[in-house]
């Protein structure tokens, strides 16, 4: 029997690492019209509670009433027999209870895979900000359009540079801009400067990239921002990012010296051709002997940062300067 187009499927599974979209899915599900909404949490409620919320009648239920059960952190549930049998036995045409599962991880457990196969699944991966494709900047444009304003690529980039990649903050700033310029408005740089509170964010990989690009000022500014945002916890990720970058540089530099083609270098350094296009100029700024010296230095730094060394931040800064600058000993 064909399913009527208007009947919603009994299961909706949202999953992925981008919390913003998952939270938004919860907010949207909460506003489902004509249905009683129950919100449960996989960290606190059991499978039995979820099945009960789906099937048990409420005292004030009216005939034919429908409901939405939202289960946040559904990935924390192991999926016992009761929940499995509820999902297995649920008729795809039965829309009296719609179960919205929010799985905050990139993989679905078996029970939610089954639910997704009987309903719909929506994956929300973390938006990429590296390589030559910044998905957050693209998203800013779309979000602005959804708020009724037009934000061009340049202004989207400016907003990203000022606010960072926190989608919650970006969404708030976009709403503020929309309120300022009004529906259908086209904000200018001045509007942005008026509304947005700049609080730059930085990721450890950006520090590493600036260091290997020998942009010592930017690298030091980014170290400072990362440290300001994350505190001492920033040091290990920064060192890891430096190690990854140097490792790729060593491979690429050696292949370049041996006359390898760009395809071969891209494969050897495990990156796309597009990424290599940006990476090769950095490679050309280093020689293999110095890079191997940086590897030795980073090994010592790794041990110091994870151990009980004093002034760990200074040690990291010295390493960044040694990579970014010339003749600075760390």
């Amino acid at each position: 029997m064909a399913k009527p187009a208007s009947t919603p499927l009994p299961f909706r599974v949202f999953y992925g690492a981008e919390d913003f979209f998952l939270d938004r899915a919860i907010e949207r599900a909460k506003q489902w019209e004509g249905r009683r909404v129950t919100v449960l949490d996989g960290e606190e409620d059991s499978e039995r509670d979820i099945v009960a919320a789906c099937v048990m009648p409420y005292v004030d239920d009216e005939p034919g009433s429908k409901r939405v059960i939202i289960v946040d952190n559904a990935g924390k549930l192991k999926g016992d027999r009761g929940l499995r049998s509820y999902i297995d036995s649920k008729d795809r045409l039965d829309d009296t209870a719609i179960l919205v599962a929010i799985v905050r991880s990139e993989k679905l457990s078996e029970v939610w895979q089954t639910a997704a196969s009987k309903g719909q699944s929506f994956e929300h991966k973390k938006l990429l900000t590296w390589d030559n494709k910044n998905q957050v900047v693209d998203w800013i444009g779309k979000e602005a359009a959804a708020c009724g304003i037009t934000l061009g690529a340049d202004l989207s980039k400016t907003l990203y540079n000022g606010v960072g990649n926190d989608l919650y903050r970006l969404a708030s700033e976009i709403r503020k801009i929309a309120l300022l310029v009004g529906d259908g408005g086209k904000p200018t740089l001045k509007d942005l400067q008026l509304v947005v509170t700049a609080s730059p964010s930085a990721e450890p990989w950006q520090v590493a990239e600036a260091a290997v690009a020998k942009d010592s000022r930017r690298a030091m500014r980014l170290v400072s921002t990362v440290y300001k945002n994350m505190g001492d916890e920033a040091l290990v990720p920064v060192v890891n990012a430096l190690m990854r970058q140097i490792e790729k540089l060593v491979v690429a530099r050696q292949m370049l010296d041996r006359g390898a083609s760009e395809e071969e270098i891209a494969a050897g350094a495990d990156m796309t051709r597009g990424r290599l296009f940006y990476f090769l100029p950095m490679v050309r700024k280093h020689d293999l002997r110095t890079l191997v010296g940086h590897m030795v230095r980073l090994c010592k730094l790794d041990v110091n940062v994870k151990g009980a060394a004093n002034s760990k931040r200074t040690l990291v800064e010295l390493a960044v300067l040694a990579i970014a600058g010339e003749g600075v000993a760390a």
Partner: protein, 317 residues
């Protein structure tokens, strides 16, 4: 034949344990030896001898012997390091019972397996009791790294050494399971005098990992960093064991020029002879391995990056 007669190849250790069983030695003992050399087995056999209410023979199945073997005897307290170090709470919990009289056995025994893995507060909590142990209490502290046991603990214990087991003994045990004598001999040698390691390596086919390490050495000699780094990444969690195998291969490279019969990895002697690793590179690799071991004494985890650096520096640019 008593239970301690079951322990083979550790005459010195057994002699001390017999004195404990006879009541001639009551001070705490620090049993030092690599894993798989029979430290724990010998200690448990000694405890069985002390606690046994049956025949006192190795095959005795009295309730006390069964409980000791299962680590569930009421007068035997076993504290051991697993993936975590031994914390102060574990030691305090065990020591709470040290002052009371044994429930059924003539003495109460504390077995701390991994004395080097005690945190400093845990070791300090143990000190006072070790200094003046109750007359009805015996302490056995087991370690494979004596230098990591704090000096104040070491000075309060009698030291009993469990050396490497003879090759012939390990080979005789392995030969019961492994029909290929040549392979059994290689497993015996890569285990370096530890029966536990030999059996474990054989059971999980560790020669495969040894072969991977050899291929990494080959890639290093070709100075092909892209393939070398990929191969090192593929080692994953096996890096600590890989470094042990690497050290053995380097030893073989030094030895093969003088006496090929004494090398560990006899099955790949031809490949080792053909490998182009000169003495300078070998020495740099050995020194690098020593550095890695020294610098990771506290952090424990060796990242692939450290191994890559080891090869990149040793083989030069």
């Amino acid at each position: 034949m008593v239970m301690l007669d079951e322990v083979q190849g550790q005459e010195d250790g057994v002699r001390h344990l017999r004195r404990v069983v006879a009541g001639q030695l009551v001070s705490p003992l620090l049993l030092v030896g690599e894993e798989g050399t029979g430290r724990r087995f010998a200690t448990l056999q000694a405890i069985r001898e002390m606690f046994c209410t049956g025949t006192r023979r190795p095959d005795c199945s009295c309730p006390d012997c069964i409980q000791v073997t299962a680590g569930a005897h009421p007068d035997l307290m076993i504290v051991e390091a697993t993936d975590k170090d031994i914390g102060i709470d574990s030691i305090r919990d065990a020591l709470e019972r040290a002052g009371s009289f044994p429930a059924v056995a003539p003495v109460r025994v504390f077995l701390i397996d991994g004395a080097d893995r005690m945190t400093v507060p845990a070791a300090n909590a143990l000190l006072k009791t070790l200094e003046e142990p109750p007359r009805t209490t015996r302490f056995f502290l087991l370690t494979d790294n004596e230098r990591r046991v704090i000096p104040t603990i070491r000075s309060r214990c009698g030291r009993v050494s469990f050396g490497r087991l003879p090759e012939s003994f390990i080979l005789s045990v392995l030969s019961q399971h492994c029909e290929d004598h040549g392979k059994a001999l290689v497993y015996c040698r890569i285990a370096e005098g530890s029966l536990g390691r030999a059996v474990r390596y054989w059971g999980s086919g560790r020669l495969g990992l040894r072969d991977k390490v050899f291929s990494i050495l080959t890639l290093g000699s070709k100075r092909d960093f892209a393939s070398l780094f990929t191969a090192i990444d593929a080692l994953g969690k096996e890096i600590p064991l890989s470094l042990r195998f690497l050290e053995q291969l380097l030893l073989d490279l030094a030895m093969i020029q003088y006496d090929p019969t004494r090398i560990i990895n006899r099955d790949i002697a031809d490949k080792l002879s053909a490998l182009r690793v000169n003495d300078a590179v070998r020495e740099r690799l050995v020194a690098g391995l020593r550095d890695i071991r020294a610098s990771h004494r506290t952090t424990h985890i060796v990242l692939p990056f450290h191994v890559k650096t080891l090869f990149a520096t040793a083989f030069g640019v």
